[in-house]
């Protein structure tokens, strides 16, 4: 580096004496969320990569589709539709699982990474409150990832549908079986399942992970997992009961899939609604965790 190239000239000062405009809360929040997406590109890269792999796999296997349809020609159109529905359901489940893993790791790193790389000292030099920072980070698993999962699943299933139609047409077969996929209904159920189940029902999990992320100096994953595990084990030893474990298992099961259901639609259609009291208790718990994380971030410096 030469001195020349480093020199910052006085002429640069001439431009603008610094106009002071107000920036709305919404705008600062928008930029805070955008910053999170810039930093954690796995938020969209991971589900896109999984979707790409699924599409490729589907393309390869779709070559055998006409043969399968011929075999199933004796079946009702409904049963024929089931052949494809299973594949479509698998695609949606794979994407849900992917974004859940992304959400968990995102939360564990969200308030720890900025302390680890000392960038918290830069973020805190800007007029963004700790509350806004924590809420913008919580928005990723609570809202952004469920919506993104839906959009990517939707796009993937549309691609799969078009591909199936093209292959069936080339094979000179009827498209009747595709109408039995009931994709329209499934998508509405999926959106509800993702926003209410993955977003709101899992909120206490995300809140707890963010709290651990704000608190732990290192080993965020262990701090997030071991204390709940210890409580479960202790309960088992002391009282020979497993209420705590059941509580967590039930909560995860509510948002997750019903393993007894056979089709994707059945798996997600029985997602509990907004009237379920458990939802609101969970949200309250999540709010407590998040407020604790805000207080911790106020006090915490680099680790």
């Amino acid at each position: 580096m030469s001195t020349q190239s480093n020199a910052i000239p006085q002429s640069a000062l001439a431009s603008g004496a610094g106009s002071c405009k107000e920036i709305s809360v919404a705008r600062r929040f928008y930029w805070s969320v955008k910053r999170e997406v810039w930093e954690s590109r796995s938020i969209y890269l991971a589900p896109l990569a999984v979707a790409g792999v699924i599409l490729l796999g589907f393309f390869v296997s779709a070559i055998h589709l006409p043969a399968k349809v011929r075999e199933a020609s004796g079946m009702t159109p409904m049963a024929q539709g089931e052949i494809l529905a299973q594949t479509f359901g698998f695609a949606a489940l794979a994407l849900m699982a992917t974004t859940l893993v992304v959400a968990a790791f995102y939360c564990l790193d969200a308030l720890h990474g900025e302390r680890r790389d000392r960038s918290i000292l830069f973020w805190k030099s800007l007029p963004v409150s700790d509350l806004m920072t924590v809420l913008s980070k919580a928005t990723i698993p609570l809202l952004l990832l469920p919506l993104l999962t839906f959009l990517i699943t939707f796009a993937l299933q549309v691609c799969m549908l078009l591909l199936s139609a093209a292959i069936l047409l080339v094979g000179g077969q009827s498209l009747a079986m595709l109408s039995h996929l009931r994709l329209g209904m499934t998508w509405i159920a999926l959106l509800n399942h993702l926003v209410v189940g993955h977003g709101l029902y899992y909120a206490p999990f995300y809140g707890w992970f963010l709290l651990v992320s704000a608190w732990a100096r290192r080993g965020t994953f262990l701090w997030a997992v071991l204390p709940p595990l210890a409580i479960g084990v202790l309960e088992k030893i002391l009282f020979n009961t497993s209420h705590f474990g059941d509580l967590i298992g039930d909560r995860f099961g509510i948002g997750g899939s019903n393993s007894k259901a056979t089709s994707m639609f059945a798996m997600i259609a029985d997602s509990p609604g907004l009237s379920h009291p458990g939802l609101w208790i969970g949200l309250l718990l999540a709010a407590i965790f998040l407020l604790a994380a805000v207080q911790l971030r106020r006090r915490q410096g680099p680790v």
Partner: protein, 290 residues
């Protein structure tokens, strides 16, 4: 209105007292250098001023309580708390976009103007830049913010000498305009000596000295005393006596230049020498008292 006003500012970490009830007042338009050894409490004091740490006592920065109103205060205050704290993943254009998105007083064109004079490209990631370039980027972002108070805590630590000199030149030429206030701490005292309007010494959580540079120059003088006048000079009770170039150098507090010039060559001491004299004396007194 004072830019910074503290009364009985105290902060302890467990049994370690980092700030032992300090009082300070910094007027607007000053450039204050805080000098002190490691662990003197400089960073703790700055963290309190910036709302990064809770404290006991009274503290107002631009009329606000920093701990309660950090985010509001940060519209008028900017700071560089350490070297290379920009996130390593961020690209230069993203940093510009983000600061422009959240800071009402950020002038993006001005920041781009600074960057255009460096070798930093907008598509570069911070992790690809050298330490000096990261500091340049940070400075470009901070100097483009029209803040009333700028706080710099060891902003040039670990940078090479060319960059350090240019850093302070930019600060003085492109930023300081007598309405802004700058507070800076550094170990390299000699590099900021000519920049400062005010001086503060800190040691063990206390303020050892706080004066303007004019007062410093008026009050403290050191004399290279001629050997035959050494006894007469010592009678004036110097703060400190040391040997240099075969001559005794005596440092005086509040003795007139006319009186001293009869004893030998008179000059203004360096900040480093005065620091050793002031803090060394206080440390000795503290030990004597204990």
């Amino acid at each position: 209105m004072a830019c910074i006003e503290a009364r009985g500012l105290r902060k302890a970490f467990g049994k370690t007292v980092a700030l032992d009830g300090i009082d300070m007042r910094v007027e607007e338009g000053r450039i204050l250098g805080i000098i002190g050894p490691n662990g003197a409490g400089k960073t703790t004091a700055l963290n309190a001023i910036l709302g990064l740490t809770p404290y006991q006592g009274e503290l107002h920065v631009l009329g606000r309580d920093p701990w309660r109103e950090r985010d509001r205060l940060m519209r008028d205050v900017s700071f560089i708390a350490d070297v290379a704290v920009l996130p390593r993943w961020i690209q230069v254009w993203q940093a510009l976009d983000y600061v422009a998105g959240v800071h009402p007083r950020f002038d993006r064109a001005k920041a781009e103007g600074f960057l255009a004079k460096t070798t930093i490209r907008q598509t570069s990631k911070v992790r690809e830049l050298s330490k000096g370039m990261v500091a340049q980027l940070h400075l470009a972002l901070i100097l483009a913010i029209d803040a009333r108070l700028l706080v710099l805590d060891e902003p040039t630590l670990g940078l090479d000498i060319l960059y350090r000199k240019q850093f302070y030149d930019s600060l003085l030429n492109d930023y300081f305009d007598r309405s802004r206030t700058i507070v800076v701490t550094t170990h390299q005292v000699e590099e900021i000596e000519h920049v400062l309007t005010d001086l503060m010494f800190m040691d063990r959580g206390r303020i050892g000295l706080h004066c303007s540079m004019e007062e410093f120059e008026r009050r403290y003088l050191e004399v290279m005393v001629r050997p035959e006048q050494l006894d007469a000079a010592r009678a004036l009770k110097p703060m400190q006596e040391r040997q240099g170039l075969g001559r005794s150098i005596l440092l005086f507090d509040g003795i007139g230049r006319d009186t001293l010039s009869a004893l030998g060559e008179v000059r203004t001491p360096s900040i480093a020498d005065l620091f050793v004299a002031v803090i060394g004396k206080q440390a000795a007194q503290a030990q004597g008292a204990a």
